[in-house]
Amino acid sequence: MNYRNTILAIAIALSATICLTGCFTLDTADIHATGEEHICVGNSGWYLFHFIPLACGNASEDPLMPWIFFRNDVTMDKIQHRFMNYANFYSKKTRDMNYYTRESVLLEIPGTDFMIPIPYILTYKEVQLSGVLK
């Protein structure tokens, strides 16, 4: 019985980690009508007291892990750096660059409507940058 409980606990912990640690994404698609490329770069993460980074997607060029702990990779600088590196690698010019950011400052258990009405304890942040490469 203990063995089953341990496996269950590990599975829940692993699942929660994957769910809560955020994710770095770099999506690209060719726009055939114009001969250009559309790109969307995004990252998200969790913070303690709004400033202390707990976990987020790893925005490094060659990441060992898809997540990084106690480092803030959810910044415009890091996301734009990856965006511009991609553009420079293919020697393309950038255009139509737009940021989309989202913040959640109330402690909410993901997937539930339960919210503690004290803000800035555990906060979630997401930054996305989309643009066109010509």
Partner: protein, 135 residues
Amino acid sequence: MKLAAAILACALVSGCATVTVSREGATMVNIENSGWYLLNFIPIASGNPARPNSCTTRLFSKTVTLENNVKMLDKVIHDEGAVAVRDINSFTIDEHVMLILLKRHSYHTSAQLLMKDDLEDTKLEGISTILPKEF
């Protein structure tokens, strides 16, 4: 209880791909594709990018991608007869239900289409002209 279960089951297979075009003063196109995932990664159902604005759903395939949104944009560009496009913008939204048991993932793309008349009033900087069909 059975009714609630039936509604939930219907909701879970109701991924949706929609293309909306507004022609009020300017031709703006908004594209959205959404789908449901089990345990964060396993696709259950998602919108059918081949037939947007219809009640068709793709089961167990990952269609909520930037590539599919851009394909739908390509089709709208040709259908509307646009000669140029600008301000292309995309973003994603994730919503979790019961921790990681279920996730709703949606991809949004918008752009402004420029018609032949619009080009006369617009500087050519910052716009993408449409290539001939052979490209």
